[in-house]
Symmetry: C2
Subunit: 411 residues, 2 copies
């Protein structure tokens, strides 16, 4: 089996490790997480890496450089998924990093730095509603308050750590030190249609969008669907529906990206006016100011909706990340890597999606390489990549690593 | 304890029999249903009735009239609840019927008909999404297709019958014969604010609104919340939200009552564009034509929304009941009953809510008496009735039964 076939085959293997019989869902600190860590560790070993699971559940592997103990170039992506996920988001980046490390190992071309491959335990935040838990631990940007976050069954993050066989008290052992790293490189599917629209395979990422996420509760009053005239209703769902429509309107008008991904009405009886609606908001933009201005307008509009309808609303920020620029030197290496695959003028654009780099930047400079995906579709079982694009990504990623090595040697 | 205090106390007792620790929820064929049937049977026995649970799980009691085996006046209401219910909707009508039978029994004033008290097993349809299952069984308007209806845990109605100790094959034993009944009378809280607004305690119900209920599925395409530009989105939730707003707009404009009580977005990830939304629609009106015209307009508008947004929608009718007029002779008796409590010109209006009478009318003529509830609130823990109104309802209900007896004797 050639390298690309092996990577594609491994994507299929990982996709079978799911908590759901009919769809892919693999969340932080689940039995499936444990199973993929073991499998990834095996593949890392085969590529010549020494392996360990860090105190945050990140699966790691290391290939020494020219001499043991050199600072490392960190490469990788995440191994967790959203509900009903595709099979490339995250996983493909982990497998490409392992393959690149395997190539370097096989070439006996020792680098002026070590390579450390990481499969981050949690990037999506599916289970605890808080994203980037794996990379935040690794980069030392952990918040002790997160231990009490609970999943939908009421299990706290601290309990989940213990159930997984990890000790919350030992988490600081996952923190890495800046002096031990030379940078972070990640390959990820684009999760958007820009490359496809321009008939290109790969792109340099210039920055990662800032995002803010909220849990919103709209509260009215439940009542009988028949007996309560409209002038006496305080229907939380009609108010929340207006909010959803406004999120789209304001976002389009201001050129930011707002999404309500989660919404449920309670108590949920067919003949009961909803008294409470719980929903989420995800708002992102290339520039933090645009995002925050849109948010301010939205809250004003929601306030007007709720006042008019006799509703109350509460918002709780779940997540906030400011836009993160990629490192100029690492971007040049990625650009050189893509050029080595025959693309003479690689595209460069910002990532609308969040990535582990947003946390890793607290540790070391970051850069990313984007890979075309069909129709821009991701977070969906239809997620698809071309095999030839994966081959190009592998070549470009290796070339980028070698470009960093060359530049480092030259300095 | 006087009669009214006893009724109020029993409402409290019933309210403690719930599947939820912190709120009232008691659904069809649940362990709680079994417990309340036993308690109600005990109260029926104390009132002098012979008791039995019929093959549909309805709890019944009978007081013979002037001679054994006479046709019966059926009186009662339902014993099941919506999620997070109040404590009077249904239950109060059952307790008033028992108290009236107890008074008649105590008075040794044998009637020209038997009294049969019924506590219907299912009126709300909370568990199986199909309302009036108890009264539909009793009135012989059962549909064999309902056996495969499933609750949220996938338990079918047929399985739930068996788990409850009932045999689906014996259901026809619950069907009553029209020649054995002289009519049906029910007291129920108004579930609306009309009596309170007019400072009146009781009303004659003229008809029960027709209603149609639908399960609606809006299907778009899930995708990454960041990476998918607006012009490529097929966001099922924004479409469904427009639908919810339109239900309110069309209903208000046409003077009908439309409610979306249930709505949930899937897959439900904070950073995933919803690919599917499931929601319910309840639409009712005094006249069936108005309701159906509103529905036709709504489907046209939803079709336009979905076409514009690249969404598909499917609707499945869960329930359909045409408006049911109350019987003129029984209404006169109810009117006389209310007048006997000092109200010289009782109010009379249509019920916006559905009631067991909609099914019982297939067996025997029906009428209802409405009782004021605070703020018109029902299907909510704040549901409240005044003790003095309950006393008035008990007196009026008894007087109505005696008026029917008098009229029957006179004929």
């Amino acid at each position: 089996m050639n390298e690309t076939d092996l990577i594609m085959d491994r994507c299929e293997q990982l996709a079978t490790i799911s908590s759901q019989p009919d769809r892919l869902e693999r969340v932080h600190l689940s039995p499936e997480h444990k199973a993929v860590n073991a499998l990834v560790a095996e593949w890392m070993s085969e590529a010549g890496l020494s392996t360990w699971q860090d105190p945050a559940g990140n699966q790691c592997g290391r290939l020494e450089g020219r001499e043991p103990g050199l600072p490392a170039l960190l490469i990788g992506s995440h191994i967790d998924t959203v509900p009903d996920a595709g099979r490339y988001d995250g996983m493909l980046g982990v497998l490409l990093a392992i393959a690149v490390a395997g190539r370097i190992h096989g070439s006996h071309n020792a680098l002026p730095f070590a390579l450390e491959v990481v499969a981050f335990s949690d990037e999506e935040g599916t289970r605890f509603g808080m994203a980037l838990l794996g990379s935040r631990a690794l980069s030392g940007s952990w918040n002790e308050e997160w231990w009490s976050l609970a999943d939908k069954d009421g299990i706290t993050l601290a309990e989940a750590f213990q159930d997984f066989g990890l000790d919350p008290a030992r988490l600081p052992g996952a923190y890495r030190r800046p002096e031990n790293y030379v940078g972070y490189l990640e390959t990820h599917i684009e999760q958007g249609p820009i490359l496809e629209d321009h008939d290109r395979r790969l792109a340099v990422v210039t920055s990662i969008a800032g995002a803010r996420r909220y849990a919103i509760t709209v509260t009215g009053k439940a009542g009988h669907a028949g007996g309560t005239p409209y002038d006496r209703r305080r229907d939380a769902l009609v108010g929340a529906s207006e909010l959803v429509v406004e999120v789209e309107r304001i976002s389009k008008q201001r050129g930011v990206i707002g999404t309500v991904g989660r919404l449920q009405a309670f108590p949920g009886g067919v003949n009961v006016i909803p008294g409470v609606v719980e929903l989420s908001l995800d708002l992102r933009a290339e520039f933090d100011n645009d995002r925050d201005d849109a948010l301010a307008e939205l809250w004003a509009v929601v306030d007007e909706i709720c006042t008019r309808r006799g509703l109350a609303f509460e918002t709780r920020e779940l997540y906030r990340a400011d836009a993160v620029p990629c490192d100029a030197r690492l971007m040049r290496a990625v650009d050189a890597g893509i050029r080595s695959t025959g693309d003479e003028k690689p595209m460069a654009f910002w990532s609308r999606a969040g990535h582990d780099g947003m946390a890793v930047v607290n540790l070391t400079p970051i850069a990313m390489l984007f890979l075309r995906c069909r129709g821009g579709v991701s977070h969906h079982p239809d997620e698809h990549v071309k095999k030839s694009d994966v081959t190009a990504a592998l070549d470009a990623f290796e070339a980028a690593v070698l470009a960093i090595a060359k530049e480092k040697t030259a300095r």
